[in-house]
Symmetry: D2
Subunit: 499 residues, 4 copies
């Protein structure tokens, strides 16, 4: 039996339309503009290489410019006619007849779509890096306003040591800055041109790959053509950075959810970030933080799902077919929640009085007290710890607070623990026990002392600004290049261009 060669002569099966083409066409709004730009650049390159006659190029450019003006939703993308590129081809043929056929010279469908994906992603990545930097800046500003908002910091959600809300919140600026850096590194990768890669190994027709790259405003050409068409590490890295960015925010969101409870009452979300119950009149639900956390979970799935999609042999179309929608949608979600979280932090109501009340009511001074005992009484830390632990337990039973501890209580605990007092009776422990004084000892690099936090916050703001600027520059360069491409195409289309 002889194998059938070449395209099928039958129509696609309805199940294929429903499962394949419909799925691809759902991504048309994402790719529409990018495909138009890719077509413009390809046509200008065909013209430069004299592969296609000027008149046909002009007609094709005019059609492409027209398509660019049609909103994706109104363009005849329809799974009945195949996937996105097929629908476009059909549109060109209806308009231009055979001239439409020149568009495919030297370029497979996937090259056009890969370019379109990168055009979408480079804007998204620049914006997401800017969103991440903005979040870091907002956090740093919040920290700068809360340098003396005393608060018990917690581990295991148990009061650990005295700190400030400023120190706490500032810890979220750093991962955002690092993820912004990762995204900017990813931008360098995504903003490269696969143009001229052909199917897998280049094209005989179009040998100056820099031309298309320059027309599209890419930072350069991806050298190896098969790498350019098929390798996915850069997409994995972008998804991982976006997921990481939201994962850090999810931690802050969940902290705030807990602290916004009536029982904690440390913070309240500003009204515009809450929502009402339709049943319960007293409710004021911290809706925004639930959205951030849920999006964090969704993104974990988007990343692992994309990695699973990518787990195939090489040069398999499903790797990219599913990337066209999954990756931009994931980045879009990451951007929305990052901007939401910036809004939450910028407007957050912090309750210093309640935090102070809780801080005073607890025993978060215990570590510093044990260090004081160690230093004053010449006992090792473990011994001091055991004495203080015993004193705390005893004070707790009596309904006392950490600030109520006395030398007498410690000596009593020492007598039980060690068989002898430590000579602390009568000592004034107020400086040791004052949570504010304790925080003020944290003057080492990165500590919670107000002055230290003030300077860190200032540096974070500057770091955030630097990243915002880089992202904004990138966005501007992209916009200028795309504008120049359209302008050039218009000039050629209406015959006003010089070669």
């Amino acid at each position: 039996m002889t194998r059938v060669r070449g395209p099928a002569e039958e129509s696609p099966a309805p199940e294929l339309i429903a499962a394949g083409f419909a799925l691809e066409v759902a991504d048309a709004p994402l790719l529409h503009r990018g495909l138009g730009l890719a077509d413009l650049a390809h046509l200008l390159d065909l013209r430069a290489r004299k592969v296609v006659k000027d008149e046909a190029v002009q007609r094709l450019l005019r059609a492409t410019l027209e398509a660019l003006e049609i909103p994706a939703e109104q363009f005849p993308y329809d799974p009945e006619y195949g996937e996105v590129y097929n629908c476009r081809e059909r549109w060109y043929v209806q308009r231009l007849g055979d001239d439409a056929g020149w568009l495919h010279a030297g370029r497979p469908r996937r090259e056009a779509t890969r370019i379109a994906l990168r055009l979408v992603l480079r804007r998204q990545v620049a914006e997401l890096a800017a969103d991440a930097a903005e979040f870091a800046a907002v956090v740093a500003e919040s920290a700068g306003r809360q340098l003396e908002t005393w608060m018990p910091d917690q581990t295991y959600l148990q009061q650990a040591q005295p700190s400030t809300f400023g120190h706490y919140v500032l810890s979220f600026a750093y991962p955002a800055l690092r993820d912004a850096d990762r995204l900017l590194a990813g931008l360098d990768w995504v903003n490269l041109s696969p143009g001229g890669a052909g199917c897998v190994n280049g094209s005989r027709l179009l040998v100056d790959r820099d031309h298309v790259a320059a027309l599209l405003g890419f930072g350069g050409v991806i050298e190896h053509t098969r790498d350019a068409m098929w390798q996915l590490d850069g997409l994995v890295s972008l998804l991982a950075s976006a997921t990481s960015l939201v994962a850090s925010q999810s931690k802050l969101a969940e902290d705030l959810e807990i602290w916004a409870s009536e029982e904690f009452d440390f913070v309240d979300l500003a009204g515009p970030y809450t929502r009402a119950s339709v049943l319960m009149p007293q409710k004021r639900n911290p809706y925004a933080v639930a959205i951030v956390r849920g999006a964090g979970g969704v993104l974990i799935g988007r990343l692992s799902g994309f990695l699973a999609v990518a787990k195939t042999p090489s040069a398999r179309s499903d790797n990219l077919i599913f990337a066209y929608g999954e990756v931009p949608r994931a980045l879009d979600l990451a951007g929305r929640v990052t901007r939401l979280m910036s809004g939450v932090v910028a407007t957050l109501e912090v309750h210093p009085d309640r935090m102070w009340e809780v801080l005073l009511g607890g025993f978060s001074q215990a570590t510093d007290l044990a260090e004081f005992v160690m230093e004053s009484c010449d006992v090792d830390y473990r011994t001091a710890y055991l004495v203080v632990g015993r004193a705390v337990r005893s004070a707790g039973r009596q309904g006392l607070r950490g600030v109520d501890l006395t030398g007498e209580l410690l000596d009593a605990a020492a007598t039980e623990q060690l068989g002898r007092p430590l000579g602390l009776s009568g000592r004034d422990l107020s400086a040791v026990l004052d949570p504010r004084a304790i925080v003020r000892t944290r003057v080492a690099s990165g500590g919670a002392a107000p002055g230290v936090v003030r300077e860190m916050a200032a540096r974070c703001r500057a770091e955030a600004r630097a990243r915002s600027d880089r992202a904004a520059d990138a966005t501007q360069r992209i916009e200028r290049a795309e504008f120049a491409l359209v302008t050039k195409a218009e000039e050629v289309a209406n015959g006003s261009a010089t070669r």
Copy 2:
């Protein structure tokens, strides 16, 4: 400072609209009909409990019936007005003024939406179980047609033992049947009513929870109200079954992709399941199988993402907010690809001549030959294996095939391996080496002998039919119940109902 109580008086923040409400409103088309049905049942229940006066109930029913007729895309769902339920509330208020307010008596937003989700899912799950059963039936029919399509079965993609395409392909019917069973078990869970659960602990107004359940055609009530509202194990199980179903198909798809290569040439996808390249005129790409495999990867991410979303404390709204879209969309994708894969299998072109050529050209008889040597020559299996292995290596070097092996070759190998021949020279090995004869020895339960496969295939078809019938019954019951609910609502709305 006193904590602010009750709903916020400010408008929602634009970032909240973009990240929260917009995300929820994107699921409106999924939930629209279910919310309408949930409202009808709730209104009939409020009327039965005499919580709301008949006239108001009638007006509300009329509005709800009207809303049911409006396609979701045309209903004024708009994130500016909140999430889906808010948008509906606004629509009711615009129509009915204060009467709209009765709708919320005794029922939180989330109860309505949970019901809507289950109404969507029960249909989807029944359909997906039917799709799975249909896939099993198609596979079994294919197996029944290929009982003597001799083929080397492979492990590590290396020829292992002689078999048939029928035996091979039938192995995909079983996991589909089991996943159909899991889905049908899941249907029993999903087709239960959370109605009357209130926010978390029930409602004082609506104490007969069976009424709403019966109106909506649910199989019963989920007893514990907090379990009904918040536990997610059933959704996890549905997603896992759907993912498993597609994961098995992905294996078949990837096998077919490999076997459809020019080099294997074992099969060809029918034309309607392929697609052309726009660049390469000779191409006829097995597009359908790439879609199935890619969808398999996407679903792995949907499952792990949903589990990550669910990793929160209990009664957190993000758990369900993100479920409303993620779960139905995942099940929809699973259904589409299952139907696609059924089409692929039903129309697959199998190339028996090429399979036979390859089978004859290899050495997949080696195991049976070694067993023959063991039995004939009174040597242990390992020894027989080593002798045959040596003979195969030697035959391979001479360009011989498995069927070309002779007693002389085996004796020569034995002499090398054991220092003595095994007395096989001159023996007629043709029956031992004939791949067809080997397959015919696989008469034990589940083996590859044609008669065994024929009977298994017949049983699989019967099992598939049984599951299709169960699923179809469920779908019919659901449709009848929903029709009856609408009819009852119409009667009450126009006053023709008796109480």
Copy 3:
């Protein structure tokens, strides 16, 4: 160039030993006993089929029985000699010389290992189902003790409605019971025999597959041999059920972590489930709940990782090579944390006074109050909700609590909202506002009223017991069968068996 056939003559590469064999040998402790039992059954079957002479069978049985007695850690499993089965083969050869070679007659390595995996899993699954049932029982007992432990139930961690700790905690029994059911269904699948499946299509030597199944105490034979060897849906389902089981517990754990904070102070973990800080003397960290939650995350990864491993063509060895360790280890982790969580719940200190204080201090009566207004004042629910919401906001500003609300306050709010009072001034609202009275109205099925919860808890205990019994029966049947197999093997080995 002629292709090389047959096993390689060179030694394995060091990188292959480090990446492949070492990885497989790390699973030897899991598979050791199961491989021994599989060998016993295979030998008895070879004897029954007269494939191997009695004397050789006896020697092989004696060696196998000896191997069974050697702890896996002391058996010479060593990656230098290949994977687990190779190491065993080497041990047999060293002991028995050529007789060792009979062991491989009619059975590939993978059949032995598949059987061993199922022997491990069937015990684990029965135990995990029992653990899940025990957890449900412990939860139900806790609920039964806390029927009148009044508590504000929460959504978004905001006080929602009055409830009890008993009603709350009981909501975790149900998913555990359902996951126990899923595991028991999975047990039916896992406790089936792939024996006699050969490589892919059966064996000519061993045609009575029931014999091996019966010897190993399996519930039956997996019919289709390729299905038996290669399909993974059952493993996916087991992992999904185990993950789901822990995911539900993780929610409870995270609730308890929050409630064990000093600020909530609703509960305390019993001392044996906490751990100390080595730095902070006052700390008493709820370590157990962090372990449960973390394990929940790990299991999400084990499930998605296994699905990703399974995303290959069919009959690929990595699917099972990685399953041998991943699946049993995941189930083991799930069992450990389930037992831990049972301990946490059984010993949990609940603080009813603090819960009552918080309940009294809030406004969780608002829904019931709005329903009262609706019913008493003939206004729709939305209107009543707005009036109550306004009253709550106003009361909150004055530092009043929900129980302090009065008819006068409501009338004032109504006047503001509606332009008229509702005639509530002077009404005694104490019954409407008493949280205990509100809970007592939740008498509908599944509600929070103490009597309703008492009966649900009793039913849950009974349901849990039924599942424990099923699991225990399964475990006993398994143990008896394995004991009988060893006994039979001993009899044959020492010549005391009749055929």
Copy 4:
């Protein structure tokens, strides 16, 4: 009721030991050395700050140096005594009594363990970057040897265009180089010191955080103390890069598995990377590539599982408790398989004759032929494509190959398609149809022409070397620093150090 404060006085529950401590103690071999080094540095810092007297420091240093010499497996790590740090503390107390207690001054358990984790990871990351670079180098060398190994490159596993094995395989060097870069960027993050961070906000005792960082050879200090202790973005990024690295190799592995089939016969794995069947004498299974692919799946799960673990509020111990084992084990697995894959590529047997045979037998010239028709006959590409497609289909039916196409065939096709011939009859198409000539036209940047590939391969080798050097430098600096720390500690311990 008063809340209990301070450490529990009861023993840990057996379930806690089994689920919590046992799980942590299983990671002791990973952390043992790092904890010893962290202790040395902490002790030297306590001495420098004069917190502890010299004599006690000396005793503690001597004990720590002794512990460093004890292999982790022999050190008394035992879950009965708590997690890893507790076991060490117990060992110190047994040896030194109260003096052991000084060790905890100013440092929580988690600071020690965080440092230990980073000490493990920095070596692993440097090595993994080196492994990635080595893989790229091996690939580039292979490419350099296969510049004229003509091969049909494939998409959808269908022959696409003529290419070479050299061009194909080189496409795997690039993602490895990029992932090496990501790992080296990750190394900069991981090689920073959290020392002196205290619990969350610094310590009053140890204010010169640079000292500990320098002693441990870290590249610097992580400034913000809470960021240093708790943020996880860097670990996510490391796992993502390792997963991406193996994901790319998995593609190559799966390509090779397919190409090593008898039907393709493009390549053979060298014997040391295969394994035999114990049943089937003819088998020579490409075991190594199955391991690589399976490990790729496992790593997807490790990444998604860790992200799920990390989905908690901030400062939750499970985030790191589970990281201690999960992250190093994942990186270790990535390293093993990367080295394995380097071995596979370095020793791979490539079959140029078979590749050429297949290339000649197919129609991968069709694109170039259509381009020729377009250029020669002045028709648009789509028209040329349709003509060639028709000619290919017709040639296929006649059993002809691509190289057998003639001008006559094309004209016949044109007549059918366009109603007119294109004047190609009689034209010599041999240069257009020769696959070698086609490849030689791919001279644009990154194309498949032999000279282009040669230069790319040379550059890749240089790039790989640059990364290897960076990684080796890092490893050397680390080893020197650790050696210097031990030396310094020894000097202080035996009194030979100057302050």
